[in-house]
């Protein structure tokens, strides 16, 4: 920046600086909060993960993670469940968002409230509600047998099925919202132009609508996937102890074994993996931008 030396140049520059500082100071309280309740504990946990039981510096928790197959299983389960949940959310959420985006704005807003409704009740309540619905003597099995749809109670809960049902239910709005927003932003004239140039509705969808809604879909899928990685309550309740994701493993390490170091090291690894995924995904999205999608 070249410093101009005209009349009032110094004062004008100072005014600009003060304005910028004043604006920045608005972030102060939030910054302070993040620093105290987030950075400090996370840093402390990070430190703990490198201490052995005797209090000496050692990588033993990380080495144990490599040597004990149960840890590998927990990570594998976490990624598989997160991936499956995300995939199901896309399959259910994308068509739903599409229908919403084609509705008149008023009707879409009402439907959107219905999509958001689950957010208004506690996650724990919703998870236990699923337990009531899905268990052997639950509403779904009782009615299914009464109506003759199936003979013996289906194993809908205390296993992977229940975990996935619960997680998809909780995650769906996180996918629908960004996808819906990106679809709303697509100028209807693009589809008219596609039709005018000879594209049937199906081809217009694949060639124009889908590519233009892709950034929103990617963002939604990413949010869902990352939230899934740290999920605890739903697998704990609906998995019936059979599903061990990393978060459950961390809880066990602390509650049962009081091993803060082991729990911390799990947290650190999960954190690093998440950051790596975010980084790769952000490169993908930027690539999308480069190809001309996104904000147009």
């Amino acid at each position: 920046m070249s410093h101009v030396a005209g009349p009032n140049a110094y004062n004008l520059r100072r005014d600009a600086l003060i304005e910028r500082l004043a604006l920045f100071s608005l972030t102060g309280p939030a910054l302070l909060l993040v620093a105290t309740v987030m950075l400090v504990p996370v840093g402390w946990l990070f430190w703990l993960s490198f201490l052995n039981d005797a209090g000496g510096l050692s990588p033993e928790h990380y080495l144990r993670m490599l040597s004990q197959p149960s840890y590998e299983r927990a990570f594998r389960a976490t990624f598989e469940i997160s991936f499956t949940t995300t995939a199901i959310c896309i399959l259910l959420g994308y068509p739903l968002a599409y229908v919403l985006s084609q509705l008149p704005r008023r009707a879409a807003n009402i439907c959107m409230i219905a999509v958001m409704l689950p957010f208004w009740t506690s996650l724990l309540v919703r998870t236990y509600a699923w337990l009531v619905l899905l268990q052997r003597q639950g509403i779904i099995n009782t009615w299914g047998i009464k109506l003759g749809l199936w003979d013996a109670p289906l194993a809908l809960v205390h296993n992977l099925n229940g975990t996935l049902i619960g997680m998809v239910h909780i995650m769906l709005p996180f996918l629908v919202l960004p996808v819906y927003a990106s679809m709303r932003a697509i100028d209807p004239d693009y589809l008219k132009a596609a039709a005018n140039l000879g594209a049937s509705p199906t081809r217009a969808f694949w060639l124009v609508f889908l590519p233009l809604s892709l950034p929103g879909l990617l963002a939604g899928a990413l949010i869902v996937f990352i939230l899934c990685l740290g999920f605890y309550v739903t697998p704990a309740v609906l998995g019936g102890g059979k599903i061990t994701m990393v978060a459950n493993r961390i809880a066990t390490d602390i509650e049962l074994f009081f091993n803060w170091g082991a729990a911390s090291s799990l947290g650190v690894v999960l954190f690093i993996l998440t950051v790596m995924i975010l980084y790769v995904a952000s490169r993908l999205v930027r690539l999308e931008r480069l190809l001309g999608g996104g904000d147009a």
């Binding site: 100028d187 004239d189 693009y190 008219k192 132009a193 596609a194 039709a195 005018n196 140039l197 000879g198 594209a199 049937s200 509705p201 081809r203 217009a204 060639l207 124009v208 590519p211 233009l212 190809l291 001309g292 999608g293 147009a296």
Partner: protein
Amino acid sequence: MTRDAALPIAVRQLTKSYGTVQVLDAVDLDVHRGEFLTLLGPSGSGKTTLLMMLAGFVRPDCGSITFGEREVIRLEPHKRDVGMVFQNYALFPHMDVAANIAFPLKLRGVDRVETAKRVEQALELVKLGGYGARRIDQLSGGQRQRIALARAIVFEPRILLMDEPLSALDKQLREHMQIELRQLHERLGMTTVYVTHDQREALTMSDRIAVIDQGRIRQIDTPKTIYERPNNRFVAEFIGESTFVKVDVTSSGCTFNGIPLSLAAQPPQTGPHHLMIRPERLAILQRDPADDVNVLPAIVTAAIYQGDSVLVHASLSDGTMVSVRASASSQAPLVGDHLNLGLNAADTYLLPPEEGVQ
């Protein structure tokens, strides 16, 4: 593309209403083979709705549209084979320029080599040769307009529709593009329907203009006839500046506030009429005029300097306000001056009397 390949359009009884609002009221319209026809009207007149019906995007309540011999009223948009330039261009942002132009060819199964050739030809045609690899957001408004045009004509449609394609451009570029579009039409010869609310644009570009108001075509004719001999007061007022002076027509002649006027033609009906006066047809008389010039005394109420001319507002003897353009170089009249305004008999035009209009 030859003119014979272009298709004529026939619209019959085309009607559309949204609730109680009649958008189109049994419109009949013929667009000749290879003609450049402009739909001109104020916003909300139904001109865009009519164009969207030709493209197939709006479903009419009833009526008929034929392209050549073919009835298309129920045909889906993607089967109509008409080119269209949208108001906001609607270029696909996720494709580069070449992919945008190749889009209709790809859908028609044109092979890769042929596609590349025709894309480059289309780019040359709109004077943007070599722009194929550009991204859409790297283009200026005028360039986007040209690419949209290239995309609309690359598959050689026999009908081209344009929805206010120049409205987003600045004045200078707009006037330049008007001429270019017109030249392109002469070269390609496809039947063109052009929608605008800009009367100058319509006068500049069209073979014929259809003036639309409240869902009805008020007059359809050549630009010259529309301008000089409007059928009704709406057309006369919408196109160009005009003032109307009440005159009395008797079997022996025509008078304005007691002053006898010589007319270009004696109207068929007697009684009160409106004489249409365009500012550029009035002259400020400096000396005694020739015999066929009507003299209207007036008092100057305002003189506005406009660069190329001075716009003079003056009040006639019956109080009617008229405007007249004076050359900016001559001595400008001052407020309160008494003037004699001259109107050539050949330039007089009486509006046909309309029912319910005084």
